[in-house]
C-alpha cells in the first residue's frame, strides 16, 4: 500500500505542453501566478481562468486529474469562502440573522477568492503534471545558475534533489521491508492511542536511518569512483533547447496577460 505514493505526480505524454522547455514552463508558471494577482476584477479573473482551462486542454491531461489535484485544498477554499462571506460587511445586505450578515460585497469577494485559488492550484499542478522531476531539477539548476556568482551552491542543491528523487522508491521499498520484519517480530502498529502508534514507529525509523547512512556512504564512494568532483567542468548529455513551441507559448501567455491588463483598465 505504501508503494502507491507518487511523488511529483508526473503524467507522461507528448502534448505541446509536455514538449516545452522546462525552463520556459517554470517562468511562464510564475508569470501566470502574477497574472492571477494582477487581475482585480471578476472579469480579469475570468480571462485568467480561461487561460488555465485552455492550457489544460492543450496538455491533454485527463480532467479527472485536475479534480484530484483540487481535492486536498478543498477545505481551504471552503474556509476562505465562508470567512469572506460572513465577515465582509460592506455593500447591499442580502441576508441578516443575528450576527450573520451576507452582503453583495461578501459574495463577490468569496467567489473571487475561490476562483483565484482554484486557478492557482490547477495552473501550477499543470507544471508538475507535464514535467518529469529530473527535467524540473535540471531546469531549476539552470535558471538559478546566475546565483553561483554570489556563492550559492546551485549545482550541489540540484544534485541533492536528484539523488533524493532517485532514492524515494528505494527507501519506500526498504520501509515496507522493515515494517514487515518488525510485524513478524510482533510489533503492533495499527492499534492503540496516537501516542502509542507514534512510539511504534521508532523501531522502523531507526533501522531506516542507519541503512540510509550506509547507503549514502556507499553512494558517495561510487560517485567518487566515477570521477565526480562537484559541478566544475561538468557537461550534460541532455541539453535543454528552446524551440518554436516555446515561442508560441510565450506569445500565448503574453496575449492573455495583456487581456487581463486591458480588462483592468477598461472596467
Amino acid at each position: 500500500m505504501i508503494k502507491d505514493i507518487t511523488i511529483g505526480q508526473y503524467f507522461p505524454g507528448i502534448s505541446p505542453v509536455h514538449r516545452m522547455d522546462p525552463r520556459v514552463k517554470i517562468i511562464l508558471t510564475a508569470v501566470f501566478i502574477v497574472m492571477l494577482f494582477v487581475a482585480d476584477s471578476i472579469w480579469g479573473l475570468i480571462v485568467g481562468a480561461a487561460f488555465t482551462l485552455v492550457s489544460f486542454m492543450i496538455s491533454r491531461i485527463p480532467l479527472k486529474l485536475m479534480f484530484k489535484s483540487l481535492k486536498p485544498i478543498l477545505p481551504i477554499i471552503i474556509f476562505t469562502g465562508v470567512l469572506n462571506l460572513f465577515f465582509i460587511k460592506s455593500g447591499d445586505v442580502y441576508f441578516h440573522w443575528k450576527i450573520f450578515t451576507i452582503t453583495s460585497e461578501g459574495v463577490r469577494t468569496a467567489i473571487f477568492m475561490a476562483v483565484r485559488i482554484i486557478c492557482l492550484i490547477i495552473g501550477t499542478s499543470l507544471l508538475t503534471y507535464t514535467t518529469s522531476p529530473i527535467d524540473l531539477t535540471d531546469a531549476i539548476e539552470r535558471l538559478l545558475s546566475p546565483l553561483k556568482k554570489i556563492k550559492v551552491p546551485v549545482h550541489e542543491l540540484a544534485m541533492m534533489m536528484t539523488i533524493a528523487l532517485r532514492f524515494i522508491p528505494t527507501l519506500i521499498e526498504e520501509t515496507d521491508k522493515i515494517m514487515s520484519a518488525q510485524k513478524a517480530r510482533g510489533a503492533d502498529m495499527e492499534t492503540g492511542s496516537l501516542m502509542k502508534r507514534a512510539k511504534a514507529l521508532i523501531p522502523i525509523l531507526v533501522p531506516l536511518f542507519v541503512s540510509s547512512f550506509r547507503r549514502a556512504e556507499e553512494l558517495a564512494l561510487a560517485m567518487e569512483c566515477r570521477c565526480y568532483h562537484g559541478g566544475e567542468g561538468r557537461t550534460r548529455m541532455k541539453q535543454l533547447r528552446m524551440t518554436v513551441l516555446d515561442g508560441y507559448a510565450c506569445f500565448y501567455t503574453a496575449a492573455f496577460f495583456a487581456c487581463v491588463i486591458a480588462v483592468n483598465i477598461l472596467i
Binding site: 532517485r166 553512494l219 566515477r226 568532483h229 557537461t235 550534460r236 541532455k238
Partner: protein, 286 residues
C-alpha cells in the same frame, strides 16, 4: 604481457579515530602483485581478508600507508592524476542500488561522462554504445528502480564502461543477485575481457566464478597466500580449505572420489571437464 596494475610492498591500515586512543588495524601487509593488461584475475578470500581494500588501492580511493600502487605506470599518490586514474580503472560494487545515481537508465550511464566534461554528442554516442554492450539498450529510458537486480548491475557496469576504462575492478558484483542475474553479469564480464581486452579484477565468493578466470589470487589476513591459474589453485583442495574457502563443487566431487580410491584427475574445475572425465571413467570400467 606488460603489467597494468602493480602493487609494490604495499601496506594499508584503517584507523578508527572514534576510539581513544585511535585504534589502528593493519589490513594489507607487504603486498607485491602485478596484473597484466587484458588479464582476468579473480581474487578470493573470506570476509575481512583485505581483498576489497586492495582493490580500492588500485583506483586511488585508498592511498597506501607505505609502499606504492601503480596504474599503467602512474603512482596513485599523484593527486593531479587522480581523475585520470579513476577513468582508467572503473569500479563496480556489490549493491547495485547504492551505486546508481540517476533515476533513468541512460542518465545514470551518462553520469561519469558528464563528470569528465565530455561534450554532449559524444556522451550520447558512448552511452548508447555502453548500453548495447551490456544488452540494456532497449531499457535506456526505463526507471532504474523497476529493473531486476541483474539488470541494475549491468546498468552499473555500463556506467563504468562508458568511461572506456582499461580495467574494471568488481567487488562481489554478484553477491546480491539471483542465479540468473549472476549468469547475466558473468557473461558480460567475460565478454568485456575477451572482446574489448579490458583487464578484469573480480573479487568473489563464488568458486565457480573464480574458475572462469585466467588467474586466481587468494588473500588471507592481508597477505597473498596463493597465486596461479585456477587449475593450480583448486587442485590444492586441502590448502584452500585450511584458508576457510571452498573449491568448486566438481573439484570437491573429484577430490572425494580420489580419496576413495577412484582414479580421476585432480585439476578438474568446470562441469564439462568433470562430465567428460566421469563418462570416460565409466566407459573403461564397463
Amino acid at each position: 604481457m606488460d603489467s597494468f596494475l602493480k602493487a609494490e610492498n604495499l601496506t594499508f591500515s584503517y584507523i578508527n579515530e572514534i576510539e581513544e586512543p585511535p585504534v589502528k588495524t593493519q589490513v594489507l601487509k607487504n603486498i607485491d602483485l602485478e596484473i597484466g593488461r587484458g588479464e582476468f584475475v579473480a581474487v578470493l578470500g573470506h570476509n575481512g581478508s583485505g581483498k576489497s581494500t586492495l582493490a580500492k588501492c588500485f583506483n586511488a580511493i585508498n592511498i597506501p600507508e607505505s609502499g606504492n600502487a601503480y596504474v599503467d605506470g602512474i603512482n596513485t599518490r599523484d593527486e593531479d592524476k587522480l581523475l585520470d586514474i579513476r577513468q582508467r580503472v572503473g569500479m563496480v560494487f556489490q549493491n547495485p542500488d547504492n551505486q546508481i545515481v540517476a533515476t533513468i537508465v541512460e542518465e545514470d550511464v551518462a553520469f561519469a561522462l558528464e563528470n569528465m566534461g565530455v561534450e554532449p554528442g559524444e556522451i550520447r554516442r558512448r552511452v548508447d554504445d555502453a548500453l548495447k554492450t551490456v544488452g540494456m539498450y532497449e531499457y535506456r529510458e526505463h526507471a532504474v528502480h523497476k529493473l531486476s537486480g541483474g539488470q541494475k548491475q549491468r546498468v552499473a557496469i555500463a556506467g563504468i564502461i562508458a568511461m572506456r576504462p582499461d580495467c574494471i575492478l568488481l567487488d562481489e558484483p554478484t553477491a546480491m543477485l539471483d542465479p540468473s542475474g549472476r549468469a547475466e553479469v558473468m557473461k558480460t564480464i567475460k565478454m568485456l575481457n575477451r572482446e574489448k581486452n579490458v583487464t578484469i579484477v573480480l573479487i568473489t565468493h563464488y568458486m565457480e566464478e573464480a574458475a572462469q578466470a585466467d588467474r586466481v589470487v587468494v588473500i588471507d589476513g592481508g597477505e597473498i597466500m596463493m597465486d596461479g591459474t585456477p587449475k593450480q589453485i583448486f587442485s590444492q583442495v586441502q590448502t584452500i580449505r585450511n584458508l576457510g574457502l571452498d573449491v568448486p563443487q566438481v573439484t570437491e566431487l573429484c577430490f572425494e572420489l580420489r580419496q576413495h580410491g577412484v582414479e580421476i584427475s585432480q585439476d578438474i574445475i568446470t562441469e564439462d571437464e568433470c562430465v567428460e572425465a566421469l563418462s570416460k571413467l565409466l566407459q573403461t570400467q564397463r
